[in-house]
């Protein structure tokens, strides 16, 4: 079961809440929209617990049920067929925290010119005061439906016979109103154990320079010019823990990872004049947590470079599979277009597609940037940049930020007779087209960084890497390649955890871990106080380390303390001990130490560091805590029977009181004393 939980920001609370002792309702399986009459008005036994299939999970049905909350105790969504299109996100994502504010350009603010997500129904940002759960179609769901068919079906329009099958959902959230209130309540400690009510969202950004800097030296670097290649890691869905984001985010960061690998050899042989930073931002869906943090760090000299060092930015947005002959589009900002600073970057990009099966087309000059991390950098400084995407105007992803944006949506199909290991190696068409995009991106970055033009055609992305990454991120993350690149202590996170029952607030106790091979969760999650990232961050970190770093001969103990060796430096590099592959004739893994420039940079919104919980500038998203979340079904008796039982009980109580009183007053009459004949015999 995946619940819908409560999130809060500076002004609103969104999501779902149940009452503290759970919400009970008689189960009703919804067959069509017209069938809503029964729970909303006609049914004789309110409140109802409405069970609907995913094709009926639409905004109109949900809003009707929201308005009748006295008759609808909760909603359960069963994931079955996907509707033709569904996007629960808002129509204008991140509209207040991007670059297009009233002051920047009045006409471009609030999606006045281009509505980026026209299919968006905003369901993820609605507030429900009854619980909403999501179930997969498996044995448990069959039990529920069977219970409904046995007890709750209406026979020929006549009334239902009690006992009826009912369901109770518990998802009581602790936080209310908005972030400022819940953070204030979390920090007030009158008792010995303060109750934490909510946690800020956040995680870690993954960053890697091709020429690393001393990681302790923050601030401006003289004569250093950096090209930033950015992508976002996270996505969301209505049910947060069901986020997949195949087209929305995975396609982008897999392309950038492949481009990073393609650039490794060329940049080591002939290093370009400018440095390149590969930045994978986390938390971008929730008002640009990762990128706003990086900009804040750069402005306050808490990052190894600052904004003056940034030369230009290339961001990889969503890049879906291309049929041959289709194009990808280069989005830029109209206001900075007027200064002609972007033309060089565009030229480099367009010339990089020579010999490949697609071409890059610029979008209309008056069209603003789509929602992207580049907007946050632009908000701080007018840096030239391009966002690469597969849509010319609005985002054409039918399942933008929903749980249908999965491998099937990316046309990731494998022939049916392959084993999982063979599927891992099989190069799909999607992988082939993403490889071409990655090649173009890598070449463009090389040229933009001032690399030698003669080397450019040797830069090629590896389709095998791309298809393995797509398989691991979208189909099954517990595969041999991912196991080989991970650290030994982290290998368990690959058994990813789609059904995590969070016990005791925010500490992630895995009470019911599925060891099913599922893709990792893409929702950014809460920022943990210990230095622990979520599975996705570690995967990207270790993959980037493997693809851009070098294997060394260090032993495991040397890998932990490399500073003692003459040629190694933890200022510049980080040293990761990874599991390695299992050679064909043995069972032991050949683990080794990777020297890499990849670092994890904390990505928590600056609003929480500054204590400004009503900030309009930065993301203020927090997630509520809860005690437990569970669901159960049982048979419930009619109200009349309950009242009768209670009445009989009370009557028995009073009768017994009366009888006791009478017996007490008439005790001497009832128990006339019989003289014991032999009481003096002892």
């Amino acid at each position: 079961t995946v619940p819908c939980v409560r999130l809060l920001n500076a002004t609103h609370q969104i999501g779902c809440q149940s009452s503290i002792s759970g919400d009970t309702g008689v189960i009703h399986v919804l067959e069509s929209e017209a069938d809503l009459e029964w729970p909303l008005s006609k049914g004789p036994n309110p409140p109802y617990m409405v069970l609907l299939e995913s094709s009926l999970f639409t905004k109109s049905i949900m809003m009707k049920m929201k308005n009748a909350s006295s008759r609808v105790a909760g909603v359960v969504v069963v994931q079955k067929t996907s509707p033709p299109e569904f996007s629960p996100h808002t129509t204008c994502p991140n509209e207040n925290t991007g670059v297009y504010t009233e002051t920047y350009d009045h006409n471009l603010a609030h999606c006045n010119t281009t509505v980026w997500n026209p299919r968006g129904n905003g369901l993820s940002y609605e507030e429900f005061d009854s619980p909403v759960f999501s179930l997969k179609e498996d044995n448990e769901t069959e039990v529920i439906k069977q219970c409904y068919f046995d007890h709750n079906r209406v026979v020929n329009g006549s009334g239902l016979q009690y006992p009826l099958c009912a369901m109770q959902l518990f998802s009581h959230m602790h936080a209310v109103t908005d972030t400022a209130t819940c953070m204030r309540r979390s920090s007030m400690d009158f008792s010995t154990s303060p109750v934490m009510v909510c946690d800020p969202l956040g995680g870690y950004n993954v960053c890697a320079f091709i020429r690393p800097y001393n990681s302790t030296a923050f601030g401006h670097k003289e004569n250093e010019s950096v090209v930033i290649a950015a992508a976002r890691l996270d996505s969301r869905a209505f049910f947060l823990e069901d986020s997949t984001g195949a087209e929305g985010s995975v396609s982008g960061f897999v392309t950038l990872l492949a481009a990073a690998q393609a650039l490794r050899e060329a940049t080591q042989e002939a290093p370009p004049t400018r440095n390149i930073l590969f930045a994978f931002f986390h938390g971008e869906v929730f008002d640009y947590i990762g990128s706003s943090r990086m900009v804040y760090d750069m402005k306050n000299n808490m990052f190894v470079i600052d904004l003056d060092n940034v030369h230009s930015i290339l961001e990889i947005g969503q890049v879906k599979t291309l049929r041959s002959g289709t194009n990808l589009f280069l989005h830029s900002d109209p206001v900075s277009r007027r200064n002609n600073t972007v033309t060089n970057l565009v030229k480099n990009l367009q010339s990089s597609t020579a010999g490949l099966n697609f071409s890059l087309v610029e979008t209309d000059f008056s069209q603003p940037l789509p929602p992207s991390s580049f907007q946050r950098l632009l908000r701080a400084r007018a840096i030239p940049g391009i966002v690469l995407a597969d849509h010319q105007t609005d985002i054409n992803n039918r399942y933008y930020e929903s749980f249908y944006d999965n491998a099937a949506h990316l046309n990731l199909t494998y022939p049916s007779n392959l084993s999982p290991e063979e599927q891992l190696e099989f190069v799909t068409d999607t992988a082939k087209s993403l490889t071409e995009v990655a090649t173009a991106v890598a070449r463009a970055l090389f040229k933009q960084a001032g690399g030698n033009n003669s080397q450019v055609n040797k830069i090629n992305a590896d389709p095998k890497t791309v298809t393995q990454m797509l398989y691991g991120f979208l189909v099954r993350s517990n595969n041999s390649w991912f196991q080989a690149v991970m650290a030994p202590e982290l290998k368990d996170i690959l058994h990813t955890l789609t059904s995590i029952k969070k016990v005791l607030g925010s500490s992630l106790r895995c009470v019911f871990c599925l060891s099913e091979p599922n893709p990792p969760q893409y929702y950014v999650g809460v920022a943990k106080s210990s230095h622990q990232a979520n599975a996705l961050t570690y995967l990207v970190q270790y993959l980037l380390a493997n693809l851009t770093g070098t294997a060394t001969n260090l032993t495991q103990s040397q890998c932990k303390k490399p500073d003692e060796l003459p040629n190694e430096s933890t200022y510049l590099y980080s040293y990761l001990w990874v599991q390695g592959v299992v050679p064909p004739n043995s069972t032991q893994r050949e683990s080794f130490c990777v020297r890499t420039a990849v670092r994890l940079v904390k990505a928590v919104s600056p609003a929480f560091d500054l204590g400004d919980y009503i900030s309009k500038e930065y993301s203020t998203w927090t997630k509520s805590q809860w005690k437990f979340i569970k669901a159960r079904i049982f048979l419930v008796a009619s109200r009349d029977l309950e009242m009768l039982t209670l009445g009989v009980g009370v009557a028995v109580l009073f009768t017994s009181l009366l009888v006791t009183y009478f017996v007490r007053t008439k005790a001497d009459v009832l128990f006339s004393s019989v003289r014991e004949p032999n009481n003096a015999a002892y």
Partner: protein, 101 residues
């Protein structure tokens, strides 16, 4: 403690102790005073100290009613408006309920 067995002076001293004790923000002492000494003050046949006990009981009763009025008013206002008072309401509370404003 059974009041029947006490001599009258001791009854008066007890009643006085409870009366003065209630001024230390202890309205329950006044309630106990009223309930306990009611029979003594108004039902029993007259004796010398009864007049004093009567005054003490009456004043304890008045004091208790005053406390009830004040506390009821404050509790009603607080319960009704705590959510609207936002920060002030939270700082005045000892335990804040979870999940509701």
């Amino acid at each position: 403690m059974n009041l029947e067995r006490l001599p009258n002076e001791e009854k008066l001293t007890l009643c006085r102790k409870y009366y003065f004790g209630g001024f230390a923000f202890l309205p329950f002492l006044w309630l106990v005073n009223v309930v306990w000494f009611f029979k003594e003050a108004f039902v029993e046949p007259t004796y010398t100290e009864q007049l004093q006990i009567k005054t003490y009981v009456k004043r304890s009763g008045l004091g208790f009613l005053l406390w009830v009025a004040v506390l009821t008013t404050w509790i009603t206002i607080f319960q009704h408006f705590r959510a609207e008072w936002g920060e002030v309401g939270d700082y005045l509370s000892f335990t804040i309920p979870l999940g509701i404003p």
